[in-house]
């Protein structure tokens, strides 16, 4: 299933420790350009650890990560961003004391060219009109759903080739979740490759094309989403029977 040409993101046999806990025990995943890949697993399976290892917040003990042929294992997080990987962290982690506009500016921190940045910002405001209304407000005053939008918007401002989303649905009302997922799909259709971590497996399988199942630090399953959603074990464990 791996095509002859080099995969977009290639994670090979990585081992990551979280303090003394051996969190990732030899994980390999690949993502091709333009794909939306989802990663599911129970709490503590190592999803966030994997994402943080890719984005450089954590360093793998062993193994290698290649993005468009560049090794990421030893690069600091801020360098990885400039290669084109943006992560929307779990719990959003927006800068609540900065205004919405300043949050977006921070997203564009690595970029040069005022005009392009301003254009992107307008596009983002089109995508999230709520943010435009409140752009002068301090981000801490936003509601949970708006904060999630801001977190995604902020990541988009880096102009990512690969967008990593860590549980974007967490703590949101169902209506909002749908809204956010539609947006994610739109972003993917516009050309960004997406790695989506979700607890709500059903939702994830609906919009992604391939999926990995993570169990206690190892890949338990890998398949396309249609097959995964039919899988008996997954049905029992993640889709509520």
């Amino acid at each position: 299933m791996i095509s002859q040409k080099q995969p977009f993101l290639d994670v090979q046999e990585i081992h990551t420790y979280y303090g003394k806990i051996h969190a990732l025990k030899g994980i390999s995943i690949t993502i091709n350009k333009g794909e939306m890949v989802t990663l599911i697993g129970s709490n503590g399976a190592g999803k966030t650890t994997l994402l943080n290892t890719i984005s450089g917040l954590l360093k793998p003990q062993k193994g290698q990560i290649k993005f468009e042929g560049t090794h990421l294992e030893h690069l600091p997080a801020h360098k990885i961003v400039s290669l084109g990987i943006a992560q929307v962290p779990e719990g959003r982690k927006i800068f609540s004391r900065l205004t919405i506009m300043e949050n977006l500016e921070m997203g564009a921190f690595i970029r040069k060219g005022r005009r392009a940045i301003a254009q992107d910002m307008e596009q983002i405001y089109d995508l999230f009109p709520r943010l435009k209304e409140r752009r002068k407000q301090v981000a801490g005053t936003l509601s949970g759903g708006e904060q999630q939008m801001l977190a995604i918007a902020r990541a988009l401002m880096t102009r990512p080739k690969l967008l990593i989303l860590d549980e974007p649905s967490m703590g949101l009302a169902p209506l909002l979740i749908e809204n956010i997922f539609l947006t994610i799909k739109k972003i993917n259709q516009e050309g960004a490759t997406i790695l989506l971590v979700e607890q709500n497996a059903l939702l994830a399988f609906n919009i992604a094309c391939r999926g990995y199942v993570l169990q206690s630090g190892k890949i338990a399953l890998e398949d396309n989403c249609d097959n995964l959603s039919q899988n008996k074990m997954i049905k029992e464990l993640y889709l509520g029977g």
């Binding site: 962290p89 800068f95 609540s96 300043e102 500016e105 949970g144």
Partner: protein
């Protein structure tokens, strides 16, 4: 009490309070900037202030020895400020790299102990260098007074107050209007999220130390010119007072530190009028305790909460 009702003495005291308050505020900003970003108290900040003062002293002495300062007094003083800022900034950056960065992930007590160690080290280094002697700033500009009846206001005082306000405005603009300033605030709030935006967190932390140190250096030169004598222990009391001011204003909060500094200076100056001067420090630290009881987060303490 009778003094408080006398308008002349009151004005004089307010000017006295604003002068020393401005200096407290400049130093307090360094504490607050570093605390905001690293959640540690840089107890060596008083020594950075002291080194800045000595840097300015060295340059002014040199310039006054070769006669340059008599022909170009203003330029000489600007040179002194520049040298002081250079020395202190370099020192601040080195300290961060050598004494604090290796302890970034250690328990919070470790960098604190490291800071105290650095403080003692710097004091003693300067003592060995100066052989423990008081050094005297050369008189570059004569001190003129504005006399209004009984009142006499030194032009130095006015310059210090204005200088402090100027630097603070500059800092405010830097933090709230420039990209680097915004990145500083972002790093202060969430280091991981900031690095996910491509912000080099270490660089921002270094810049924070440099800015805090530069402000302390400016304060150091002002103290040198105004009080004329400096020694290796000069950082201790202003350091503690400025720290108090930072806590008063709400540590980690930039406008809070400015306000806290002026507030403390005024409280000390006016407090002397209502009680004997030996209680001056009591006023400062009594205020600190009072504010901490009533408003544990300081006058300008954080009110924004993160909604989840």
């Amino acid at each position: 009490m009778e003094y408080l009702l006398n308008p002349e003495i009151l004005t004089a005291q307010i000017i006295n309070g604003l002068t020393i308050g401005g200096i407290y505020a400049l130093i307090a900003l360094g504490y607050t900037l570093v605390y905001g970003i690293l959640f540690m108290i840089n107890f060596a900040h008083g020594e950075i202030f002291m080194f800045g003062s000595f840097g300015g002293f060295a340059v002014l002495t040199l310039l006054s020895n070769n006669g340059f300062s008599t022909t170009h007094p203003t330029l000489s003083i600007l040179c002194a400020f520049a040298a002081a800022i250079l020395i202190s900034s370099a020192l601040g950056a080195i300290l961060e790299r050598v004494a604090y960065r290796p302890l970034r992930d250690a328990p919070r007590l470790s960098p604190l102990i490291s800071a105290i160690g650095v403080s003692i080290f710097l004091q003693n280094a300067m003592m060995l260098f100066t052989r423990g002697r008081m050094q005297v700033y050369p008189d570059i500009i004569p001190e003129n007074f504005i006399e209004i009846g009984w009142l006499s206001i030194s032009c130095f005082q006015i310059s210090i107050i204005l200088g402090c306000l100027l630097l603070m405005t500059g800092l405010y603009i830097f933090i709230y209007k420039t990209k680097t300033g915004k990145a500083m605030r972002a790093v202060a709030e969430n280091r991981e999220a900031a690095s996910l935006m491509g912000i080099d967190v270490n660089r921002i932390i270094t810049i924070t130390f440099i800015i805090g140190s530069a402000l302390a250096a400016a304060a150091g030169v002002m103290v040198g010119i105004y009080y004329t004598q400096i020694n290796h222990m000069m950082g201790f009391i202003p350091g503690i007072k400025a720290f108090t001011a930072a806590v008063l204003g709400g540590i980690g909060n930039v406008p809070g530190a400015m306000l806290g500094g002026f507030f403390l200076g005024l409280a000390e100056a006016l407090g002397v009028l209502v009680m004997p001067a030996q209680y001056k420090d009591l006023i400062a630290f009594g205020l600190l305790i009072l504010v901490l009881i009533i408003r544990p987060k300081g006058i300008m303490g954080e009110v924004v909460s993160e909604r989840v």
